[in-house]
Chain length 484, copies 2
Amino acid sequence: MSKRNLTLLTDLYELTMMQGYYEKGQNEKVIFDVFFRQNPCNNGYSVCAGLDQVIDYIKNLHFTYEDVDYLRGLGIFKEDFLHYLSGFHFSGDIYAIPEGTVVFPKEPLLKVIAPIMEAQLVETAILNIINHQSLIATKTSRIVFAANGDGIMEFGLRRAQGPDAGLYGARAAMIGGCVGTSNVLAGQMFDVPVMGTHAHSWIMSFPDEYTAFRTYAEMYPDNCTLLVDTYDTLKSGVPNAIRVFREFKDSGKPLNKYGIRLDSGDLAYLSKEARKMLDDAGFPEATICASNDLDEFLLHDLKMQGAAIDSWGVGTNLITSKDCPSFGGVYKLAAIQNEEGEFVPKIKISENTEKITNPGNKTIYRIYEKKSGKIKADLICFSDEVIDIEQDLLLFDPIETWKKTKLSGGTYTVREILVPVFKNGECIYKSPTLKEIASYCCSEKDTLWDETKRLFYPHRVYVDLSKKLYDVKKSLLDQMNMTD
Amino acid sequence: MSKRNLTLLTDLYELTMMQGYYEKGQNEKVIFDVFFRQNPCNNGYSVCAGLDQVIDYIKNLHFTYEDVDYLRGLGIFKEDFLHYLSGFHFSGDIYAIPEGTVVFPKEPLLKVIAPIMEAQLVETAILNIINHQSLIATKTSRIVFAANGDGIMEFGLRRAQGPDAGLYGARAAMIGGCVGTSNVLAGQMFDVPVMGTHAHSWIMSFPDEYTAFRTYAEMYPDNCTLLVDTYDTLKSGVPNAIRVFREFKDSGKPLNKYGIRLDSGDLAYLSKEARKMLDDAGFPEATICASNDLDEFLLHDLKMQGAAIDSWGVGTNLITSKDCPSFGGVYKLAAIQNEEGEFVPKIKISENTEKITNPGNKTIYRIYEKKSGKIKADLICFSDEVIDIEQDLLLFDPIETWKKTKLSGGTYTVREILVPVFKNGECIYKSPTLKEIASYCCSEKDTLWDETKRLFYPHRVYVDLSKKLYDVKKSLLDQMNMTD
């Protein structure tokens, strides 16, 4: 993606609004927040991802001659504005929560502070990138959780929603905890393990299944997984695989890593039967890999039923997040700088209390219980607020304000999770490698209580507002004649 | 996409199988079919799309020095095979059903005839592209059908699964019947109308809603749609919009095209109230556009309830095909050429009759009722079969073979829908423009009976096998000791 010019990957209204601001000479600094209102798939948390691609996008923002020419042809933009666009670059600040961090509804994942014309332009692409990768990283986390330590391989490229969905979906899947992907281009671009064996067509292109297996084993003695369901799993596939494993063992050149893959039928029954056959034949170290329309629910049930499966290839349901294929990240105006240089908080009201935005220039403190290292709550504050961890900290629910928790000084720690990424248009953030992000994400999940990680009806993590932010929000609402 | 090298956008197993064939000197010509087993969203038909991107992909297939170097680094490929890859190009034939055609389960949308190493490599990317665009074109067709003549605008970029899903999703949405897209890059790349107005942030960046509306109208008097739900739709938004419309009318410079957009609340109630207010104020020609989590079901219900909405912006549910986010296209081996140059039919069996493939080198005749021009059935035949439309034609269900229909000679017409696209690696197909494809797709839907187009429990279109194909399939199954 870094070589592609995505500057026009935006909604037309961003450009018509930009021209509106341009014509009015209205280009004050503003703050926009990216946040979401609900975890996908009823999960207890989300995993944010996509920042590295946002950074590439912002760095590469520029209107080429062809872009300006195309816009001119639309007949709605004036020459002075088109001239401005031809010299456009991003000059603002961006703060973001690092990729792989566990995040919760309503907190800003990313904050843009920039002249309104610039801040408006970047809305659509930022949302597109963050929404997609955070969705897949979160869905993958659920599947990895259900696998309870077994490896999950990402096999979804053929069913992904276009090339990027396969490519950046694989990236997000690695962040969410996959051990590898079948996608070779993702392997090349992101330096992650690529995996795979053979297809039914391999078997069908040989005179018989045994010959196909034998040939494959000769080619790949170090990593030989045989697909056993082309004809009949238990009557033909597994016996032929065992015959090949035995021939290599008897020849004195045993296969190094080997096993079978099941891709149809009832995976609980077939895997248990296959396990018995492999064990009885003297191949207890042969692994059993399964694929075929898996998701976290089926995986959870198969494990409950004692399926003898060591690793899982997950495709369609992971790469599209089938039961919830969108992450509802939005981009909302939070403040406008006045002539004195102060940011005046702005609020978007709604009849639905849940949809009212949080005003002002904000940051987020993550509060951990000191003794366990687990997350107690996230506290959204104004960016100039500080927390003295030696003092008691009173948290309260921003809707049902009588629900309060007091944390005693010394029993908790805090971490500011929004970090600077761009300053005056310059990237000041060093992106970790994908492996580092994946490892960080794994440690992030250790900061969640088990109750938050379960697949069904997880315990909600509290995201509270500081007293100061709550008061400003309430007074803005009161001014609008509404109550929160 | 045409400038990107997608050669490594493939599953690792395609490459490990290729090396297997290479090492065995096994590179006979084979035939693979792309087909699907079920229409998405329980629709009565699908719309195929993506061929133009498949053509780009095939034309650009080549392993760069970096690609080969990356593969070498994986430690599983030998130098002679890597050398072969560095000179790789596609030399085969491809047949496909043109984009925008209505298609049905089990028929080949695309047929690859090529040496097995080449045919295997291209599986994943072809499926990725065809599955994605056919999905979105089909979903869009449902939404367009529910709108019953109102314009549908594609507004989904921010929720699409990555940049390509937004870009090629917009392309597919135009094929499926959208009147335009908000996606500027899609507009530029595919020469389609781009549309949009302004966001809530526009309103919020002005001291008040009236000033924001007035400013927008001054900027865009030729196409001025005002978003009326930032504060209170009926108490503030619509009255302010009317005030602006009236001021322009009174000034003697009335707005050209103008109206309002609703983006929250109950769209049936609000649109009817807004319509009354606009009419009473003397603006019956003001249009009402609606958005906010629309899909074909909500749209259908809103129209049933008399919502006074003229055009619809549809985002998330269209661009992700939310209730069914994958199109299950598969790529299956159908035949292998023997030493005499004949294609020997191959079949993939399954305990599930529905999943058994159709063997051989096939084509598809679409059979129309002569007097209505509507589709009677599709007939899958061997590619050398011809139909004499002066003769009677007996169709029978390939599963329940006692279900028969006889078409009398002279009462039907036929059209072969698979057309040649590549011949010996050369593209011999001239792609229509996107506008031409969209217009063709619209006429294609006219060949469907109303019963097939409805949203709920549509009538299934018959896809039958020729007697000759049925007999070959049955004998292959019998050889495998199974009955069809």
